[in-house]
């Protein structure tokens, strides 16, 4: 190390480029277009785009966005079915330094309103599936996919000629997109992921489960769910191809699509694999290409692992654990499955996970506590929610950590085990929800006095306990009323009426006592 910094050689701008201060996630596509221009990047069953053509379209859309005056740190909100256009806009938004917000197409107007008021987008993207939400975008310019009668059409964003490359104006530590998820209260929270977060975690994941150039990766998870979205980065690192499917394809026709599209990598959630196992037992389809099965979002039961290995003997099964606030925590390798039953694997390389006690003190191996995570994959925090950010990302012993909210332990070999979810987050059907969100909506139903939401893990059911002032209110009325206000995965499977709900000392609903009732 030179003692006097003034003796350091002066760096030219191009050398600074080498340090990649301004790397952005669209570089994945630019690099892919350089290395394997003619490989197919995206297919959806009706169209195919090569890496080169994908990059050309992204540049074109980026130039259009710039002409609209959209730039660094502006937000663009997309509410569509899973489709290639959404991914193209997503990369173009990154290239101009703006911030993407991809939302679930089944979002309800109330939830959308809350997110729009938090993010104040400059532009929105809708399609025929979400056209009915257009009223919520009164104050926002809109681009439409597949709705010929509407104003600005997506196809108009793509120019015929070779578009100029709009230089990325930000730093690699800037926000690339927000992933909205349930906060500890009923309000949805946008996790702020930076370009650098994505780059670190994608490389670390690919080190653990390498995709190949000849792989065809299927996305049946919604793009609003980070695990669906991140597949586009992993594929680009290897030159692999993405099949963009829709969540509604994950039913009876799933096997047929996997066979027809020659899918080799299938990322999913336990519910999707439950359906896959059921269908393959009922009416088997040869799937010789399936090589990698990865599961996240919820606990993958041992019985599912055993069935997947039996039905798809050539496939490698990877159980994983993660949360949007850092994307991925750990991955269990296929050859570790038998020795480390029920583990969710080791933390990603270059990251650390440890359990802490109630006072935030580190616990020794094997002892259960709240799992905390450290590493370059930790998101910046929650969009415009400094208090909740400080609570979930506290500084312990001088370094910033993420409190997962999950209870678990780390064994002497560094493998993680999850023993229970916290009271403020529930994972159900691959979705994350906050009980507070369901309880708030329930209490808005006339006649409901109090509500408490918990998950029956053994039966995989979301349960709501309510006390009512009107004796005419029954289980099915309450479920139906909630289905209008909440996304399908957040609607309880069972509702139980109680004369009074158990309360804690400080008058909050006692969810532990409710669990004891089950």
């Amino acid at each position: 190390m030179p003692s006097n910094t003034s003796t350091l050689p002066f760096l030219s701008p191009s050398e600074l480029d080498g340090l990649e201060a301004a790397w952005c996630i669209a570089e994945y596509v630019r690099e892919g277009a350089r290395r394997w221009p003619e490989s197919i990047y995206f297919r959806d069953g009706s169209q195919e785009l090569t890496y080169a053509e994908t990059w050309r379209r992204i540049c074109s859309i980026a130039a259009w966005l710039s002409r609209q005056g959209i730039g660094h740190n502006d937000r663009v909100v997309m509410v569509t079915d899973n489709r290639i256009e959404t991914v193209l806009l997503f990369f173009a938004v990154a290239q101009i330094g703006a911030i993407s917000v991809i939302l679930h197409p089944q979002i309800k107007p109330e939830g959308l309103r809350r997110i729009l008021s938090q993010t104040e987008p400059k532009l929105g993207l809708l399609d025929s599936a979400t056209a009915w939400l257009r009223e919520e975008f009164r104050e926002t310019s809109l681009v439409w996919v597949g709705c010929e009668n509407e104003g600005c059409h997506f196809a108009d964003l793509i120019a015929e000629e070779e578009p100029p490359v709009v230089p990325y104006p930000g730093l690699k530590i800037d926000p690339a997109f927000l992933v909205f998820t349930s906060g500890s209260t009923g309000t949805p929270r946008g996790v702020i992921l930076t370009h650098d977060n994505v780059r670190f975690v994608s490389a670390a994941i690919q080190a653990r489960l390498p995709y190949r150039a000849e792989d065809r990766v299927a996305i049946f998870l919604p793009l609003s769910f980070d695990y669906g979205l991140y597949q586009v980065f992993y594929a680009a690192i290897r030159g692999a191809s993405i099949f963009i499917g829709k969540p509604e394809h994950a039913g009876p026709e799933l096997l047929r699509i996997l066979a027809a599209q020659e899918i080799s990598v299938l990322p999913g959630v336990p519910t999707l694999f439950g359906g896959l196992i059921k269908m393959q037992r009922y009416r088997p389809v040869p799937l010789p290409k399936i090589r990698i099965i990865t599961s996240t979002g919820d606990h993958l039961p041992q019985s599912y692992i055993a069935s997947l290995r039996e039905l798809f003997p050539q496939a490698l099964v990877y159980p994983m654990y993660g949360l949007t606030e850092c994307k991925r925590v750990s991955i269990l390798l296929p050859d570790e499955l038998d020795a480390k039953l029920e583990s969710v694997g080791r933390p990603l390389d270059g990251t650390e996970v440890f359990a802490v006690d109630d006072d935030g003190k580190r616990l020794p191996p094997g002892v259960t506590g709240e799992l905390c995570i450290r590493g370059p994959h930790l998101a910046l925090g929650y969009w415009r929610a400094p208090e909740e950010t400080a609570k979930r990302y506290p500084v312990l012993d001088g370094t910033r950590v993420l409190r997962s909210g999950d209870f678990g332990s780390v064994d002497v070999d560094g493998f993680l085990y999850i023993h229970g979810r916290s009271d403020f987050l529930i994972k159900h059907k691959g979705h994350r929800l906050s009980p507070a969100e369901v309880e708030e909506e329930a209490c808005l139903i006339p006649g409901i006095v109090a509500a408490g939401c918990i998950k029956d893990e053994a039966k995989d059911l979301l349960c709501l306990f309510v006390s009512v002032s009107e004796s005419s209110l029954g289980e099915s009325q309450i479920i139906q009323a909630l289905s209008v206000k909440l996304e399908p995965a957040k609607v309880p499977n069972r509702v139980f009426l109680l004369p009074e709900l158990p309360k804690t000392g400080n008058q909050k609903i006692d969810r532990k006592a409710l669990r004891a009732i089950l």
Partner: protein, 82 residues
């Protein structure tokens, strides 16, 4: 099984799988089944039940999201097969 029994039978199969539908309501045949509470897992159960109850096998080319989109789509497919 006669053609006139079909709508009634289909109603009976569909009804318990649509958890967002009011308890006493008939299944609206042109409504999106997803909106009525049928998720992908439930549509696999629905497929199995339809095949058993009607003694049919839905061929691969009809095993699509479109077939399972509404009650009337399902009915049209079953009518062709029995």
């Amino acid at each position: 099984m006669t053609a006139t029994d079909l709508p009634q039978k289909l109603q009976e199969i569909l009804r318990p799988k649509l958890r967002f539908l009011a308890p006493s309501a008939e299944v609206p045949m042109d409504e999106d089944l997803g909106k009525l509470g049928l998720d992908s897992m439930a549509s696999i159960d629905l497929l199995m039940e339809i095949e058993q109850q009607f003694g049919v096998q839905i061929p691969d080319e009809l095993m699509t999201a479109d077939t399972f989109a509404t009650g009337s789509h399902l009915q049209a497919v079953i009518e062709k097969l029995i």
